[in-house]
Structure formats: structure tokens, C-alpha cells
């Protein structure tokens, strides 16, 4: 691999959780930037983020890309400016950017010409007055759920539409299946119903709402997103965290992973009507959430992660209490989850259902347990470690079959590693303060933070203006990468397996819709 040859040689290179001067990123001509992205992805790098930003000239849009080199723990940053109302889409030669290009088009009214699947992402008006890539002739924005859905025609072919309001207590989204009998030819996922304008609201920040936006980007990933946000702020402010703060952040992040993984294993059991594990894991998820509440008062970790460190310290009695709770939860989880792998009726439903091939996962740029279930050993904690993960290594858990079983089993492997990590950290908490002062943010910088949330890679990028305010704040939730993986998993499957496949990904609507 030669990640630094050709056009990519002009990219700036930083490590996770670092900031550099914006001027260190040369403005490449669009064609050169696109060639560099293509070259990087071919060499094995991943597109962690690719986004537009407003320019002083309203007829121009800046484009910024972050490529992750997982083998060398490096992030390559490049940028360009595009004039007018469109650019030549890169998606036909580099499918990994397909949703990023649609997002750029929607946010800045910049058509990705030649894009094979050119549709709105979140159905909102463009941020650039006078430019709309989607929507009506009068300049109005697109209407949610109204798009050119893919259709299969033919005798006995039928279409099933589900949502936005779903049958359970679930976030809104629209799914359209093209079916032949029970067999699914194609699933199209149309989102945007949870769009609440967070990225737009972050312009001009940080302010008193910013940390709360970070905590509610995806409520089940409060700790993960808040950690990424704080890393960005700390990089821009040149702020160091104490070892104790770093350890407590790691504990909170792994407790979040545990609650969600254990909850998902129960939900998967429920979807194959195996009620013992479903019942036990439903309760055990609560036990892990309650450990987070012991730390900070909130089951979702609200208030725990704060710029400069953490919002709550723990005393010796709390540490002992947490260790006792962890031991009990570990024993009960073991007893509940092991039932799955020993029950033939469960395994028969998990195995070979919803498989994703490794090359599909790689081409789409899947992240998190969904990618690791296809044998792709990518995990931010290992590949781009920051904070406590530079000192305490969590082995990457993978499986090779890419099916529902693999996505379930990877969760179980990870849950066990997380229990070990939390126990180890609680037993060896370094002394010291848990939160330090955070100064003003440096002007004219770009900072990137990656964190491994329970669903996968969280990527936050901030560019500050001359006054040290956010001129652009870009969030990529792992769901942004992975929703297309779910669509691929459904191909050739029975429609009745959709709930099971869906749960095996358990993606975020709000994290995608922002």
C-alpha cells in the first residue's frame, strides 16, 4: 500500500483527537481531490467523513474529506472548492462516498452529476439560499418520503411499504420492499423523519447547548457522541485530561456498550420467539444502565462526559458497589446469553440469515460490529486509540460469516471484553482530579475525533473560524455508514426475516437524521 503517493501526498496528516491549522490543508482542484479519495480507498483507507461547508462566496461550496488509515493510525485530510450547482459524482468509481455525496447535494444544493442513486437523505431545505438539488421548481425543499423509489416490475412482484410510524416503540423511518412472494429482491430505506437540524445549530458554537446536542445526537450513544465532541473541543483548546478522567470516560463508554449489546442480544432472542433470553436480557440491560446511573445519576450517561474531563468522580464505596453489581450482572448475563448458542431452534434462525459478504462490507465502508461480523477487524479503540485506550488495549472481536449469528456473537464477544475492561479500570483507578479547565478554542483550525461507539465509529469534525467559533461541525454516526448494509443483508431473504435482520444491525434513526 502506498497511501502517500500521488494526489494524496498533498493531504494533511494528523492523528485521532488532534487539530491543525486550516491553512495546512491545501485547496486542491476538485478533480485532484476526487482522484486522491479514489486512490486512498483503493489503497485500503476508509472515508470517515466527507462534507460540504458554506463559503464566503455563495456560489462556491467547500468540500472536506477525512480518510482513515486504520493500519497506521493516521487521518488524511483534504479539501477543495466547487463552483456553481454541481460536480461530477465520485460514487460510480468509489461507492463508499454514495451517501456522503447525496448529503452534500442536499445540504448545499450541489448536484452530484452521474450519481447512480441520487435521492434526498433527510428531506430538508438546502443551507445555501438559491440552490436546491432536490425539491420543487419553486425553490422549495423536498417533501419527506416523496422520491423516486426503486421498483421491480413483473407478474407476482409486489411492494410492501412500512412506516414512518412503526408497530412498536421505535423511531420513525420508511422501508419499501420489492418482493416476489416471500422473497425480497430489494429493500429501500428512506429516512429523515427524525431530522431536527443539529449540525446547522452547531454553527457559531460552542455555546451552552452544544454539549447537550452532543448528548442527544443519539440518546443510546450519549457517552460515545459526548466523548467525540469533547475530544474535538479539547483538541481545539489544547486541553489535557487527567488519567483518572480518561479512565472514567472509558468505563462509561464500555458500560454504554454493555447495556446496548446485552439489550440487543435479548431483542434478537425475542425476534426468534426465544423468550427466556429475551426476558433476562431485557432486565440485565437495565442493570448496566443503572451502573451508569450510579456513576452520574442518568441511565444514559447524561452529565458524565464534559469538556476537560468528566462531570462526576467516584468514591471508594461507589467503586466497590459498581464492582459488586458488575460481578452479579456478568454471572446473570452469562447464564442468559449462553442459552442462545446451545439452543438449536435459535441457531437455525440466526445462521445464514441476512449475510453480508466481506467485500460488500468493505466496499460500503461498514463499521462497528456489523463490519467485524464480516471479518473486517476495524475498531477505533484498536486502530486509532485515544484516551484510556492508548494504555488499556481491548482486543478486536471478529467473526467471519457476516450473518445474524455473526452480528449477535460479535456483540457477545465484545460484551465480555467490556466487562473485563470495566473491572480492570475500576480496580486500578488512577488518583487525581476528574475535570480541568478548558480555554478558548484556537481560531482557524480543523479538529477530528473518532470514537468507537457501541454501533461503531463516531466521527466528529470541527472547523473553527477566525474567532474560534465553529464555522462547520460535522457528525457521522455509524448508522450513516451501516443502513445500506442492512439493505444489502435483506437481498434474497424472506421478508419475514426483516425484523430479525433489522435488529441484528439495530441502527439509529436520530443519529442518521441529526
Amino acid at each position: 500500500m502506498s497511501a502517500s503517493s500521488g494526489a494524496m501526498a498533498r493531504f494533511a496528516v494528523i492523528a485521532n483527537g488532534r487539530a491543525i491549522e486550516r491553512s495546512a490543508l491545501p485547496q486542491l482542484p476538485p478533480a485532484e481531490l476526487f482522484a486522491a479519495i479514489s486512490e486512498g480507498v483503493e489503497a485500503g483507507l476508509r472515508v470517515a467523513s466527507f462534507f460540504g461547508m458554506a463559503d464566503a462566496d455563495p456560489d462556491e461550496v467547500g468540500l472536506v474529506v477525512v480518510l482513515a488509515d486504520d493500519r497506521r493510525a493516521r487521518l488524511h485530510l483534504g479539501r477543495t472548492r466547487v463552483r456553481g450547482a454541481g460536480f461530477e459524482a465520485l460514487t460510480p468509481v468509489c461507492p463508499q462516498v454514495h451517501l456522503f455525496e447525496r448529503e452534500i447535494a442536499e445540504q448545499f444544493g450541489l448536484r452530484a452529476n452521474g450519481h447512480p442513486w441520487f435521492k434526498p437523505v433527510r428531506y430538508h431545505r438546502s443551507y445555501r439560499p438559491g440552490y436546491e438539488a432536490f425539491g420543487g421548481r419553486g425553490g422549495e425543499g423536498p417533501t419527506v418520503g416523496v422520491t423516486d423509489f426503486y421498483r421491480v416490475e413483473g407478474d407476482e412482484v409486489h411492494e410492501v411499504a412500512v412506516g414512518p410510524v412503526h408497530a412498536g416503540v421505535i423511531e420513525p423511518g420508511h422501508f419499501r420492499f420489492q418482493c416476489h412472494g416471500e422473497n425480497v429482491f430489494h429493500l429501500e430505506i428512506s429516512l429523515g423523519y427524525q431530522h431536527r437540524g443539529v449540525e446547522k445549530a452547531m454553527i457559531g458554537a460552542p455555546d451552552k447547548r452544544s454539549i447537550h446536542y452532543a448528548e442527544t445526537l443519539a440518546g443510546d450513544t450519549t457517552v460515545g457522541h459526548a466523548s467525540a465532541y469533547c475530544q474535538v473541543v479539547e483538541a481545539l483548546a489544547g486541553c489535557q485530561k487527567t488519567p483518572r478522567a480518561q479512565a472514567l470516560r472509558g468505563i462509561a463508554l464500555e458500560l454504554e456498550r454493555l447495556a446496548n449489546h446485552v439489550g440487543d442480544l435479548g431483542a434478537l432472542a425475542n425476534d426468534v420467539a426465544f423468550l427466556p433470553t429475551a426476558s433476562y436480557c431485557g432486565r440485565l440491560r437495565g442493570d448496566f444502565l443503572n451502573m451508569t446511573a450510579t456513576l452520574c445519576g442518568s441511565r444514559f450517561g447524561r452529565g458524565m462526559i464534559r469538556p476537560g474531563g468528566v462531570g462526576f468522580d467516584v468514591g471508594e464505596p461507589t467503586v466497590r458497589e459498581l464492582l459488586t453489581q458488575l460481578d452479579a450482572a456478568e454471572r446473570d448475563t452469562m447464564s442468559a446469553v449462553e442459552l442462545l448458542w446451545n439452543t438449536p431452534s435459535v441457531m437455525a434462525r440466526f445462521e445464514d440469515t441476512g449475510p453480508v459478504a466481506p467485500d460488500v462490507a468493505r466496499t460500503l465502508g461498514l463499521v462497528g460490529p456489523a463490519a467485524r461480523a464480516c471479518g473486517l477487524a476495524r475498531d477505533v479503540r484498536h486502530d486509532h486509540p485515544s484516551g484510556i485506550f492508548r494504555f488499556a488495549h481491548v482486543p478486536v472481536s471478529t467473526w467471519s460469516t457476516g450473518d445474524v449469528f455473526a452480528r449477535a456473537y460479535v456483540r457477545w464477544l465484545e460484551a465480555q471484553r467490556s466487562i473485563g475492561f470495566v473491572r480492570e479500570q475500576l480496580r486500578n483507578l488512577p488518583p487525581g482530579k476528574v475535570c480541568g479547565p478548558v480555554g478558548a478554542l484556537a481560531p482557524d483550525q480543523i479538529a477530528v475525533a473518532l470514537a468507537e461507539g457501541w454501533r461503531g465509529e463516531l466521527c466528529h469534525v470541527a472547523l473553527t473560524d477566525g474567532a474560534g467559533r465553529f464555522e462547520r461541525y460535522k457528525v457521522v454516526d455509524p448508522s450513516f455508514h451501516n443502513w445500506t448494509g442492512l439493505a444489502y443483508a435483506l437481498r434474497g431473504q424472506q421478508i419475514s426475516d426483516f425484523p430479525l435482520c433489522n435488529k441484528s444491525f439495530n441502527l439509529s434513526y436520530c443519529g442518521h437524521d441529526l
Binding site: 433527510r122 428531506y123 430538508h124 419527506v144 414512518p164 410510524v165 408497530a167 412498536g168 416503540v169 421505535i170 423511531e171 420513525p172 429523515g192 423523519y193 427524525q194 431530522h195 431536527r196 437540524g197 443539529v198 445549530a201 451552552k208 447547548r209 447537550h212 446536542y213 448528548e215 442527544t216 445526537l217 443519539a218 440518546g219 443510546d220 450519549t222 427466556p276 426476558s279 433476562y280 431485557g282 432486565r283 440491560r285 437495565g286 443503572n290 446511573a293 450510579t294 456513576l295 452520574c296 445519576g297 442518568s298 441511565r299 444514559f300 447524561r302 452529565g303 462526576f312 446473570d332 447464564s335 442468559a336 449462553e338 442459552l339 446451545n342 439452543t343 439509529s508 434513526y509 436520530c510
Partner: protein, 276 residues
Amino acid sequence: MIPVIRARLRQGYRTLAYPDGPPPSLPDRFRGRPRIDASRCPDGCAACADACPTRAIDLRDGLGIDLGRCIFCTDCVSACPEGALQYSRDHRLAVRTRADLITRSDRELELAGALQGRLRSLFGRSLKLRQVSAGGCNACELDVNVLNTVAWDLSRFGIQFVASPRHADGLLITGAISENMRLALRKTWDAVPEPKIVIAVGACAISGGPYLDHAEVANGVEGLLPIDLYVPGCPPHPLTILDGLLRLLGRLERAGADVRSEPGDAVRPAEQGGLG
């Protein structure tokens, strides 16, 4: 089969004794109902209001907190130089009217009273709810879902979430009501047969929460549909939600409040508010 039985014995019986027994214990750092002591406020001090991310603090008539906007972050507590604000561990927060959400030092929270008359007789022992999630962060949905776990076992109270609005007695709504969900919420509401109720769970559904005044949201259900029960929080604890539901159905004694008439109980026509 034997491992399944062995696991069952090991896991034991886990359903909470509450409400016949005591409520489950909450962690020491749990942030419940705020306690206000306005007598400590120095003249002209607005430190709490300045720190509040959601404009939940109203100083016009002495220190007051709008629990409908509060996200229980305690940024006001950190900002207050005099200790005039504290968050207690009292989980009981649900009320019946928007005005009751304003809490002050001289006013106890008017906890939710029960439905009366026909609604009480129809829903008191069987309440089927359709949940609509519309522009939030999914935390409220998750802690509503927790009520269906074996520990909380919501169905023992006759309360269930149903898969169609046609089967429902009302809506339980979460989220700030994104513009992109406005029509879907209207259609779902229209499809629920009369008489019907609305329960707004979480700061988003009551006021917009962290997304207050974003162009992309409608600042919650208020003004769109008539709300029968407000459950504050960001997100509310499952115990807070259950407390609200049980009070609404008259399953809990009314505590810390004097009884007064509830104008919201009459059966109302569906055509209210500005949805659609």
C-alpha cells in the same frame, strides 16, 4: 431444555413489588424534582437563567423552573452562587396541565390527577396506546420500552402498546415533532377512535427540549394536539413514566397536592390544534 430450566431458576422472579410495595431505589445522584428556595436569590441575579440551555428558568415572578423545558442537566445548580436550586431524588413529576409544570419555591407540584367520568371507566383498567416517536434522540422511547420488561411488567396494569392506531385508546408521543413527522402524527391521531387521550413524554414532546425553536421542529405536541398527561424529563426515568400512567388511571393515591377540578377531562372532538 434442562439448561433453559436451570437458567430460569437462576434468574428468579424479578417483577418489582411497586406499586403495592416500595418503589425501586434510585441512585444517589438521580436528578428528580427540583427544590427551589427563592429566598436565597440575590437581587438582580440571573446566573441560573443565563446558564440554562433550554430557557427553562423564569425569573419574572421569583425563581421558577418550567419542568416542561427542563432537561435536568443541573447547569443552573452549578451556576447558582447561593444554592437556591437543588435536584431531589423525588421521581414524581407527571402533571395534567401545562401550567402545572411551572415549579416555584412557594408552590408544590400539582401531581397528575386521575381521568374522570367516562374516560376513567373506559381506560381505568385497560389502556391501549399507540406510540409515536417524532424528532427526538430515542432515549425516551428506550425508557418507555423498559416498562415492558419483566421487572416493570406494564401489562399487569392493563396498559399495552399496540401496533395500530385503530386498536388504540390514545397516543404516547415522544420527540419535538419534526416537520418531517407532522403529517404522520396527524394521520395517526386521526386514525385513533374517539374518545382518545394524548400523553407527552419527555422535554422534547412537551416543549421541543434541546431543539427548542429549531426551524426543523414544532416545539413539541403543545398546540398541535390536546395533551392529557405531561411526563417531564430528558429522558424521564421509567419510574417517572409509570408513576404518571398510574396516576392518570387512578391507581396511585394523589400525594403532595390538593384536589381541584380538572377541566381537561371532558371528551373532546378530534379537530383541535394545527397539525397537518
